[in-house]
Amino acid sequence: MSDALTLDRLTVKFGAFVAVDDVTMSIADGELRVLLGANGAGKTTLMDMISGRVPCTQGHVRVFGRDITNWQEHKIAAAGVGRKFQIPSVFRNLTVKQNIEVARCHGQSVFKNLRFGMSPSDSDRVAEIVELIGLAAVQSLVAAHLSHGQTQWLELGILVAQDPKVVLLDEPTAGMTHDETYKTAEIIRRLRGNHTLLVIEHDMSFVREIAEIITVMHLGKVIAEGSVSDIETNDEVRAAYLGSAGIS
């Protein structure tokens, strides 16, 4: 199996502070990788570097062997990397359906999109996605009126519509109730297989439910990588992240 996402000695410095330090990791095609770490470990910064938001000081990011290091965000997105933000970010003044439609508009250029409406296959797909994220009943509502959980699902729906090969999810269950988390896990499971996923998550019960391999970061460095049970018994991880109390 070829590697979908390869990070090669990735480093970023903000002044003298090294936020991400020499991170090397590779994620296989179709894999779901969970990125774990305490606050300030550099997880979100790592995602920012992969998606082009923060320029890397050193190292390379490769998607299916193609070097995309420090490209502009929209080019990286066009190369097949999609991401969900920690603070859910959707188009607040557009309706739920329009949000999904925007993500379904292909092509970076304004001239390619000087046309009316969606193709029948795209409209069908938009309807399917609205159904999938469970927002069919509110699809003509403006996104600003959605609840927090609904906004998170809408952003996941945007990602599904964009259909990137590599999906970066930054805390998809942050601030969710138990039921909402369950439903989110359901949506993420549907993404699995066709997409390669990198997920930042704190909720251990959620991690146990979805994770195959976990990578643990601490102070900008990767300190462990392995299955859930490997990580739970790893002493260094316990000391750095989980505290003496262990995983609750």
Partner: protein
Amino acid sequence: MDLKRKLQLAAYALFILSLFAVPLFTDDFGLNRASKYLVYGMLGLSIALTWGYAGVLNLGQGLFFGLGAYMMAMSLKLMSPTSLAQGSDKPIPDFMLWNAEPDAPIELCCITPGSYLWIPFQDQWFGVAMGIVVPVVVAGLLGALVFKNRISGVFVSIITLALVLLVRLIVIDAQPVTNGFNGLTDLGFFTVFGYEFDPYSREMYYLVAVSLAFVLVAGRLLADTRASLILQAIRDDQQRARHLGFDVPLYQTFFFVVSAAIAGYAGMLFVLVSEFASPTFMDLSFSVTMVVWAAVGGRSSLLGACIGAILINVIESQVSETEALVDAWKAIIGLIFVLVVLFLPRGLGGLAHDFVDWLARRDREKAHGLAASSSSPEREVKQDV
């Protein structure tokens, strides 16, 4: 087609029809005035396109209006009879003689420093072309610079504001080429295949009305494209849009340029109707006034902003000509603006949208009420199971 869409189409059709009905009710003098209002309507629309759809508040739209106006006026100035009577076989603008050195040759090439810029404008169609091309090029360069560097919000407004003042200063300062503060007056008539457009004629009014109708329909079509949907997405969250793979500066620049082209075209029409071009077109107060028109009419509605501009100007002229209100008319216009901003933040267009929404909801509820009453027994059965 849903109710909303039908009403929208009806509103556009009604407005365009009424444009062509105006000549039935007024004389040539009134038509000249009405033509100016329609030009203002076009400007209101151009503001709404960038402000409402792209979220870019341009406080210097007068720049593009002024550039379009000057390009047109330069050609018309050379067509004026006085320009032909300056002692040369080729037309020379009269003000250039007043600004020339005593022994300068009476030729466009070298009568004043920079007068050679006028040479191609001897062809009226060159002036027409430049009236669009110059605003488009300036907007394209400005847009590329501003949006590529991710400048947004109030900073774009400040840059456009500064730029219009800068260009105004240059125009005033370059007196030998532009006639400075006096502007370009005493212009010839716009001529198409030998037909002269008299500013005080039905034909001139129809030229402006057809232009506005065309711009309205084209603007509406543009606002219905996918590109416009993406532009609105960019307005809401640039970063999100970037990560969906859209070239954000390209979208912003494109719509900024379209808006500038419309403003430049409006500037040309204004010169045809009013027979002068002056640096006052680039006064800050004029650009801000345009924004007020769009705000009153509704910045997210192209038709609304257009009607807002026309309405305010009609009210303004009525009020300022009423004896009792001569001193107070500015305060009255100001009051209208304050009231609209306080109570109708989305302007008249927003009010119309709310009304249509209310109609649609009432319709739906009626239909829903019927459906619910007929299907409710079935639902109860399902719940039992």
